[in-house]
């Protein structure tokens, strides 16, 4: 449905242009749902926003424990924003453990809402508190709002036929109702969602709606709550918008690519955090001709996709870092057999199992080099959740035109983060062209297009093109097995040149800020928001700082070397221990300065600003405060 934006400004409220709020509770407390619902309401309300879900890898860590805390941060604004905010202005803590793990991030003087009913001796002990922080004065730097949410909520549900557990479980709706009131948002978006979600369970629906309204009413009637805030809608470009996460945009991009090419999409994947949602989404798109396969392992997933590519369809596999490692052999077969294949890598913190639910950008060099032999593939990376849609289309556009594997490097931050997104019009997106072997143009499956060097895509069912391909080296002329020294040399160079020619598809790198100057911030992937914001802030302070963001990592945009040469210094902020900086230094002989955070968390704007000041000599050495 489409809602017209109104501005329900009330005189009793303080107007702010940006608020960052974090919901934190036990992983069983439904904080992700609370955050998502607040986000939806806020998006429909018309703010620009960005979100950062942060949840533990354990589905249910021990209740009340520190490792079991799940958080969801959201920043919303009347202006254009790029990040979910560095530090929250408001924190909702549903238990002592949530308070303990999140309080350090709350800005001094920030609003702190706690469910005081949960601050009992048992929970305090589990969180490692020796005294009750609600009583010992340690929370005095904050505006503390202590509400016995558990008790009030239970009272609101009194007459319902619900067990104590179910009653307790709906207290996140109570908190949501309260926070909606605090930030002057209507409840109807949540009510509609709940009515749809719980339509088959009327008792739970009624419980959640009552909890929501009770929390809202508490804000309105209780004299405890003195303040209320308003963040007016943002002045964004006209158009029709929706709220979208990176994984949703990725899945939509792939099904749209299939539509644009007029070829069925085949997706094979093995469940892995944080990529599984793409499998879930695509599995529900069967009516668009999408076939999905939950493979027995990562290797099978890439191989099944290669089978579909050989069969002449749009072949896709998705994974995260550990899975990309397992897929490298299969990926190399696609390199050798010159088949179009798209591999989605939703990166997470490594090495090995690492921190599955935490973000990182540390698969760049694995994607670039992690295969036996000289084995170039195309690398692209979306920069925002919404950009995942466009890069998914880009991945197939390149793969089909050049008969080459393309790795799309998303990450946990993009995948689970979300933003308002202007809905594109299908007819305005350029169609994707592919070409099966055309008997009028080629005589066999290894004849190349002189422009792209792509071989002919001869697919089973095409009479006259019966041929054999495989992982063995092939003759440049015929595609038959060939071990001759000169041929292998030529074929290796040809595979590299074919990837290099993809540069024709890559738009020139655009710079935000001065076109030449003291410092260029060069980033890639999910750090776009933080880097762009840091550049804006530095310029607002009069510094000569520009930023540029790479969406194509192999090949790089043709003008990258020239762009780098226009700045005295190049700073490369990355969520890894220095990977893009290695590529840039080796390819352009530029003394790029790596700036690396490997904490499983995105950059804060202030961190990049601190490093900028260090590099410009404005301040001393920057150090992270984790």
């Amino acid at each position: 449905m489409t809602t017209e934006i109104e501005s329900p400004l009330s005189e009793a409220v303080t107007t702010r242009d940006r608020v960052t709020i974090r919901f934190a509770g036990d992983s069983g407390d439904g904080m992700q749902l609370t955050g998502t619902q607040f986000t939806r309401t806020t998006a429909v309300y018309g703010n620009d926003l960005a979100t950062l879900p942060d949840y533990p890898a354990e589905i249910r860590a021990p209740t009340g424990s520190l490792p079991g805390v799940s958080g969801f941060q959201l920043s919303f604004s009347s202006n254009d924003i790029h990040t979910p905010g560095d530090n929250p202005d408001a924190l909702v803590a549903m238990n002592p453990a949530a308070l303990k793990t999140n309080l350090g991030d709350l800005v001094p003087g920030g609003l702190l809402i706690v469910d005081e009913g949960e601050f009992n001796p048992n929970n305090l002990r589990k969180a490692g508190y020796e005294s009750n922080p609600l009583e010992d004065g340690s929370l005095s730097p904050y505006r503390l709002l202590r509400i016995d949410i558990t008790k009030h909520n239970a009272a609101a549900l009194d007459s319902l036929e619900l067990g104590a557990k179910e009653r307790f479980r709906s207290r996140n709706f109570y908190a949501l109702g309260l926070v909606l009131w605090l930030f002057s948002r209507p409840m109807d978006t949540v009510e509609r969602w709940a009515s749809d979600k719980f339509q088959r369970n009327p008792v739970v629906l009624e419980a959640n709606l009552r909890a929501l309204r009770a929390g809202n009413a508490f804000g309105e009637t209780s004299e405890l709550v003195h303040e209320r805030y308003e963040v007016p809608p943002a002045d964004v470009a006209p158009g029709i918008y929706r709220h979208i996460s990176g994984n949703e945009a990725t899945a939509l991009g792939f099904v749209t690519a299939s539509h644009l090419a007029g070829l069925p999409l085949f997706y094979a994947s093995y469940p892995i955090t944080p990529a599984s949602d793409v499998l879930h989404e695509l599995a529900s798109y069967k009516r668009f001709g999408v076939k999905t396969m939950q493979a027995e392992d990562e290797i099978s997933a890439v191989c099944a996709a290669i089978g579909a590519s050989y069969a002449g369809q749009m072949a896709l596999t998705g994974t995260s870092g550990p899975g990309l490692a397992l897929k490298s052999e299969g990926l190399n077969l696609a390199v050798m057999a010159e088949l179009p294949l798209v591999i989605l890598d939703v990166q997470r913190a490594g090495p090995s199992t690492g921190m599955p639910t935490k973000t990182e950008q540390a698969d760049l060099l694995q994607a670039m080099y992690g295969r036996n032999g000289d084995s170039p593939v195309v690398l692209i990376a979306p920069s925002t959740p919404g950009d995942c849609f466009w890069m998914a289309i880009e991945a197939f556009r390149i793969a089909l035109k050049y008969m080459v594997p393309v790795i799309m490097l998303s990450d946990g931050y993009l995948a689970n983060g979300s933003q308002p997104w202007p809905i594109p019009r299908l007819e305005e997106i350029e169609p994707i062209t592919y070409r099966y072997a055309d008997p009028a143009r080629v005589s066999h499956a290894y004849e190349r297009d002189p422009e792209t060097l792509a071989r002919a895509w001869a697919v089973p069912g095409q009479a006259g093109f019966e041929h054999r391909v495989g992982g063995l080296e092939k003759s440049y002329e015929t595609g038959d097995i060939n071990y001759e020294p000169g041929n292998h040399h030529q074929m290796t160079l040809t595979r590299a040149e074919r990837v290099a020619r993809v540069v024709d598809e890559v738009p020139d790198l655009e710079v935000t800020g001065p076109q030449e100057g003291d410092l260029l911030l060069l980033g890639w992937g999910g750090t776009y928001g933080a880097i762009t914001s840091a550049g804006e802030r530095a310029r607002s302070e009069g510094k000569s700082v520009a930023s540029a963001h790479l969406r194509h990592l192999n090949p790089f945009p043709a003008n990258l070397g020239e762009v780098l040469s226009r700045y005295d210094r190049v700073l490369v902020p990355e969520l890894n221990n220095g990977q893009l900086s290695v590529l840039v230094r080796s390819q352009y002989l530029v003394d790029a300065i790596p700036f690396n955070k490997i904490a499983g968390q995105p950059f804060k704007i202030t961190e990049i600003c601190g490093k900028i000041d260090e590099v410009l000599g404005v301040s001393g050495p920057f150090e992270f405060e984790f």
Partner: protein
């Protein structure tokens, strides 16, 4: 592209092909005397009988001597990576169910490095014919023991004999839920040709183990029971609905004593003998038969199991059709999502 029927057969214009049509222009490079030649020849003889155009047939293989097979068959062919042919074939067949797909593999490729994929292809009942060349040795890497080498087998990698119990391909296939499970031998060309043909015609995952002699690294591995002069006495041909009889004049038989098979020499009638039944849904009987080994028993050849079950590729395709019928595929609505707002 040629329009094909559901089982890959062309309804009109059935081409009349001969063995020669399936011989590729590539020089065959197996060792002279290798059992692989026989399997290739029987396959090339079988294929014309399927009445499927060459361009609708794909051979997928992994790595190893057996996996060179696709180069020599003039159809579409994909010589892939070690052990992964079943996974690639699953993707290929699921994407294009109208194609006829064969997987050619060996005991190392299919049961060691690729055991997991083979198991899952059979479990899913992908409509693919898997031919596993079992020579009980690694040939291409020059003579290490394989997962089907008998315990104690002396090889380069086991100079004092292997310490591993081998896996039985037939048992693995049965336990994985394969809907067609058969065994043949390279030296019985007539039986091999017929078995390959029946496997190819089966709708669902068909698994054929072929005892194949590697005359370089494991010569005579099957000679004690599969050589022409002893075969009739030491192997038993399984035939559906018929009692198990073997011997030059079919004078001997096999009966069941509880779960235990027993050889009966010169039984007076068939009355006590075990009657083969390929169509049972449970796998107890074929499992018992698969346990029969020389010298205690004649080694069974033929079809152990043949049952009908929905295929994976068929079910996936059906879900797509059902989903299309159930809801109009409106991509613009999908992209817009459940909730939108307009900024004026």
């Amino acid at each position: 592209m040629t329009a094909a029927g559901s089982n890959g057969a062309i309804e009109e214009e059935i081409p009349l092909l001969t063995r020669k049509d399936f011989v590729s222009d590539q020089e065959v490079r197996w060792c002279p005397g290798c059992g692989d030649y026989s399997i290739l020849a029987q396959m090339q003889k079988t294929l014309p009988g399927l009445r499927i155009p060459r361009e609708n047939i794909v051979f997928v293989s992994g790595i190893g001597c057996s996996s060179r097979f696709p180069y020599y068959v003039n159809t579409y062919g994909f010589h892939t990576i070690h052990g992964r042919a079943p996974a690639i074939a699953t993707g290929l067949k699921t994407a294009r169910p109208e194609l006829t797909v064969f997987v050619v593999t060996g005991d190392g490729d299919g049961l060691s490095i690729g055991g997991n994929h083979l198991m899952h292809l059979l479990r899913r009942n992908v409509d693919v014919t898997v031919v596993l060349f079992n020579n009980r040795i690694y040939g291409l890497t020059k003579g290490q023991y394989s997962p089907t080498s008998p315990i104690g087998k002396v090889t380069k990698s086991a100079p004092l004999g292997t310490t591993e119990v081998p896996i039985d391909p037939i048992k693995l296939a049965l336990a994985s839920g394969a809907t067609f499970v058969a065994r043949s031998v390279d030296r019985d060309t007539r039986h091999l040709e017929e078995t390959l043909g029946l496997a190819a015609q089966h709708r669902g995952a068909a698994f054929v183990e072929v005892f194949q002699n590697c005359n370089i690294y494991n010569d005579g591995a099957f000679a004690s029971f599969a050589d022409k002069d002893v075969r009739q006495d030491r192997m038993v041909y399984l035939e559906n609905g018929k009692p198990l009889r073997f011997g030059k004049h079919l004078e001997h038989g096999v009966r069941l004593n509880g779960f235990q098979p027993e050889v009966v020499e010169n039984p007076l009638s068939d009355d006590d003998l075990l009657v083969h039944d390929t169509g049972r849904t449970d796998i107890a009987l074929p499992m018992i038969l698969s346990g029969m080994d020389y010298p205690e028993f004649p080694v069974p050849l033929g079809i152990f199991r043949q049952v009908e079950r929905e295929t994976y590729d068929g079910l996936v395709a059906e879900q797509v059709e059902v989903a299309k019928d159930r809801a109009e595929p409106d991509l613009e609505a999908l992209i817009a999502g459940p909730e939108t707002w307009s900024v004026l």
